[in-house]
């Protein structure tokens, strides 16, 4: 009897232990004691990536790993919502009203809850809504260091986030509403903004940490309340302190002694940071979201030299590298027993033709533009200059879509780029004859310090000469400043960097006749209509339809050509890690850091 009772108890205990461990399993998938090292080519330098100077991939990688958001780009790239962090919904189109809600139980790594105070701070910093108007901070800036002088007025609010009142969160100038449970915030845009999903994506910096430091309050909850009150009342004295701390408090070059400065709400937290050497990320025990990490500790080591990164991978000092793609790196990696993934970056190389105000004026004639586009040896450039770095590189055939992104294949099939697939010398000659301009001069602007562009220039020069073009060298080390200068050049060769898929980053500023990135005096009323329409279209499917029309119109107008997407290379030791699948947009390899799994040797 006694024995049976004991057995029953034992069985119960065993079963409940099993059940408990089964329950606990999804919370902790970490392989205990596992550690991995990743190489990155630039040291981390600021925990606030929203300042005008902190926006770099080196920071974004770390901040992305240590913080969650309402969504992120995957490797397609497409936007993935993370509902375990919070949700958002558009309440109305006009005026545009969006409600953001933090999920229950989401905490910062120090245990404080993530709530509306954080969202409110993120809004006030990114929108610049409470920045002192017409305040020229340079008058009170140390002429040497760029930091604020002692005479800086104490009641001036200045969040150095590069806020622009005509775009993004700058359009939300009214104080957002906070729900009673302090979990939600409702933003009301002054005018419709189609990329609203990308304008406000996370809780930003921990409000309690900012307020505790800026206002000298010890209790996190009281600090949050004080911050909300300060923002609501637009209390200039408090806001000045808060903005000042937001600007400068999170810039450090080594592990700060005050660890509250590295508080985050993501799968990992920073536990060590040795100047110029590495950042150690350790799984965040307070993280409750869906993206549970599998590796206990990830060290991001800073290795500038691409070949040094390859050898560090070979020597087992790092398990993942994503060095600058060079021919040497490609050769060295090919000889190793590692998995190499070719990919591409957000930047794409292209040639713009000056429609007006050019040096020679030749491109004012569409026939000459068409002829020049026919002789640009795009495939040859890719074959000779890009394929040695990345064997499967392809010519980019769209002015609007990123290869692989939704709409690219459809658009390429219809946009008319096929006419420029191969060099057509005879066709170009015929066009030039028709234009009555058999030997037009084309002065090309490009970076004289970039050897790859110099090589591209030579290939173009040789090919174009066969059709009668006299392509000359307008390169300069300060070519960037010359872009858009009237009368300085005829064509420009450079790369646009895409950091997001938002439509407001793409066609409207570049192809609209008034756009800030319209540097070639392109003006087509139909294009202006389309870009304006795109800037007001909320439906993603319809956005793509308009973008396809824009793409086709650009090729029909002989705008210029796209050549290639910058190649990227990622290599990892498949015997140590799995789950790496880099994406083209920042934070490239880190976007799925929670999927990285240590491979344990059998």
């Amino acid at each position: 009897m006694r024995i049976r009772r004991f057995a029953a108890v034992a069985a119960t205990v065993a079963v409940s232990a099993l059940v408990l461990s089964g329950c606990a399993a999804p919370q902790s998938e970490i392989v205990e004691g596992s550690s991995l090292s990743v190489a990155w080519n630039q040291p981390f330098y600021s925990y606030n990536q929203n300042t005008s100077f902190g926006n770099a991939t080196a920071n974004a990688n770390i901040i992305y790993s240590t913080n969650s958001g309402f969504g992120y780009y995957d490797n397609t790239p497409s936007w993935v919502k993370d509902t375990s962090f919070g949700t958002y919904e558009k309440i109305s189109d006009d005026p545009l009203v969006v409600k953001y809600t933090i999920a229950d139980g989401v905490k910062w790594s120090d245990g404080t809850a993530v709530d509306a105070a954080d969202l409110l701070l993120n809004w006030v910093s990114l929108s610049g809504a409470e920045n002192t108007p017409n305040f020229d901070s340079s008058e009170f800036t140390d002429p040497d260091t760029g930091e604020f002088t002692d005479s800086f007025p104490k009641d001036v609010v200045f969040f150095d986030s590069g806020a622009d009142p005509t775009t993004g969160l700058g359009l939300v100038s009214k104080l957002p509403e906070i729900s009673d449970d302090k979990k939600s915030i409702t933003l009301t845009y002054d005018s419709p903004f189609v990329d609203w999903e990308l304008a406000f994506t996370s809780a930003g910096l921990p409000a309690h940490v900012v307020a505790m430091h800026a206002l000298g309050i010890d209790d996190p909850q009281k600090a949050k309340d004080a911050l909300i009150t300060a923002i609501k009342d637009n209390d200039k004295t408090s806001m000045a302190a808060i903005s000042s701390f937001w600007n400068s408090g999170f810039n450090f070059t080594e592990m700060p002694s005050d660890t509250s400065l590295v508080v985050g709400d993501g799968p990992y937290t920073i536990t060590d940071f040795v100047a110029d050497q590495y950042v150690t990320l350790t799984a965040n025990t307070n993280y409750t979201g869906a993206n549970q990490p599998k590796v206990q500790e990830i060290t991001v080591r800073f290795i500038t030299d691409p070949l040094a990164a390859v050898q560090a991978l070979q020597n087992g000092e790092v398990q993942v590298i994503s060095p600058q793609a060079t021919a040497d790196v490609a050769d060295a990696l090919a000889a190793l027993d590692v998995t190499v993934i070719g990919g591409y970056e957000g930047t794409y190389e292209h040639i713009d033709l000056q429609f007006d105000q050019s040096k020679s004026g030749n491109f004012n004639d569409p026939l000459v533009r068409e002829a020049f586009m026919k002789v640009i040896p795009r495939q040859e450039i890719v074959d000779k200059l890009i394929k040695p770095l990345q064997a499967d590189a392809e010519v980019r055939n769209s002015q609007v879509f990123l290869p692989g992104a939704e709409g690219y294949d459809d658009s390429v099939a219809n946009n008319g780029s096929a006419a420029y697939k191969d060099v057509d010398i005879e066709g170009a000659k015929a066009l030039l004859a028709q234009a009555n301009n058999p030997n037009p001069e084309v002065c090309m602007l490009f970076s004289s310090t970039n050897p790859r562009r110099a090589n591209e220039f030579l290939l173009i020069q040789q090919s174009a000469a066969q059709a009668g073009f006299n392509v000359t060298d307008c390169s300069s080390p300060s070519w960037g400043g010359l872009l858009g200068t009237p009368g300085a050049y005829d064509a420009s060769l450079f790369g646009w960097q895409s950091t997001s898929l938002g439509v407001t980053n793409g066609p409207p500023p570049t192809y609209n006749s008034k756009g800030i990135n319209n540097l070639n005096f392109y003006s087509n009323p139909e294009m202006d209509k389309l870009t304006d329409q795109l800037g007001k279209e909320f439906d993603p499917a319809k956005q793509i339809e308009i973008e396809k029309k824009i793409d086709k119109l650009l090729w029909d107008d002989f705008y210029g050509v796209t050549i290639f997407q910058f190649p990227a290379v990622t290599a990892f030791d498949q015997n140590a890690i799995s789950g790496i699948s880099p994406g083209p947009l920042s934070p490239t390899i880190f976007w799925n850091i929670w999927d990285w799994t240590p491979v344990t040797a059998g």
Binding site: S35, Q277, E317
Partner: protein
Amino acid sequence: MATFVVRRLIASIFIFLAATYLMYILVSLSGDPLEDLRTSTAPNKLQLIEARTMLLHLDVPPYLRYFIWLGGIFGFTGKGFFDLGVTVQNQPVNILLAQAAGSTLQLVTIASLVAIVLGLVVGITTALRQYSGYDYGVTFLSFLFFSLPIFWVAVLLKQYIAIGFNDFLAHPQIVWWLVPLLAVIAGLIWMSIIPGKGLRRLATFGIAAAATAAVLIYMDMSNWFSYPHIGIVGIIITLVGAAFGVTAISTGLRNRKALYASLVVAGVGAALWYPFIYYTTGLPFWGWVGSLVALVGVALGIGWFMGGDDRRPVARTAALVGLVAGAVLSLDRFMQVWDDYAQSGRVKGRPIATIGSGTPGLEGSLWVHGIDLFTHLLLPTIALILISFATYTRYSRASLLEVMNQDYIRTARAKGLTERTVVVRHAFRNALIPIATIVAFDIGGIIGGAVITERVFGWTGMGALFQNGLDHVDPNPVMAFFLVTGSLAILFNLIADLVYAGLDPRIRVS
């Protein structure tokens, strides 16, 4: 003397000011600091451009912006004296400079010391064995090293000494044919160094080859590469050898008092082996330095008491042997933790590192950190040594040869002094004079000259400061680099002149 120094310094300051102006303008005009923002498609790019322009005063032309920078140096910006401004990433350059200088000093100090000692020793021995096989061999090698580009040497070093050696450590068995090969090579080297003719040369070859083969076989049999050690036997052999060797050079073996004192010190060192190996786990860094100093002090005392009438040379000899004893004991102690270190979860059996200045997250005793520093310093140090080695060997060889042909050397020989006294007392000291100036220049230059070495070994120091600044067309960090290296060059030039005057009585500074 004082007028000379003051005059030199004042002239240097003006030259330096002009140089900084030139440097600032060159860096500022080397490109476009806004290039990355201009090609950005961020909607707020105009605001970002404005912010950076404000941060770095890009609205002021470089010709005038220099004076804003100079104002910071003289403390006109209200941020104290010697304010170097901020980088394009809004980091204070002063903090970056301190970090960079620290890591560069760590990298180049050991490399410089080893290169100087090794270069002098090899240079002197080649001069004494002029036109021997050894001399030709060293000449060939030093010119070879001198002409190798460092980035290429670095890649080779990483491939063979780091990756290759780490692979070897996984199964540390020496290939059988390597033993006779290395034995023959070692025999040839020793045969060409040690003088003699006919049978004696053959004997030298045989002994050296046999000893090498024996050591290699012992290493292989005892799994030495996994568990390196010197052991009490090795310590005794080394210390007795050191006692004879140091005495031979320092005072000559005829000085029996010096020899006995050295042997006593060697005995003390051997007696300390057990406590030093087994009771020093928690020893702090300064405790280690302190015990080394104490050991040398004890040796000095032994020499002093045993010295009799002629105390100074005996005490000096004994102290040198004490230093060797401390070094060998420490080496054995470091070797003790080698296996623990190599097999730790952080190092994972691949101890020789190719990048960085330390294993991330490694925790352990002084000895573990010492090993860690060694494995990280090894490759960059070799790379740096290979380059400066050539200069030191060539200069010291030429200098000693010149001195050896002087009349006073013939006089010294004629009056019957031993060859040791002639070489060490009369020739060597005078041969050092020109070397001193080269060493002074080199120390000034090497701090700034390790740019490429730092980059390829991921050792972020002054070189990285310089290069990152140049990449971003950001003059402030480049100027910080230039200030340090430029003032060091001026300072060491001055020191070299003063040292020359101090060493060579024929030269007077006035």
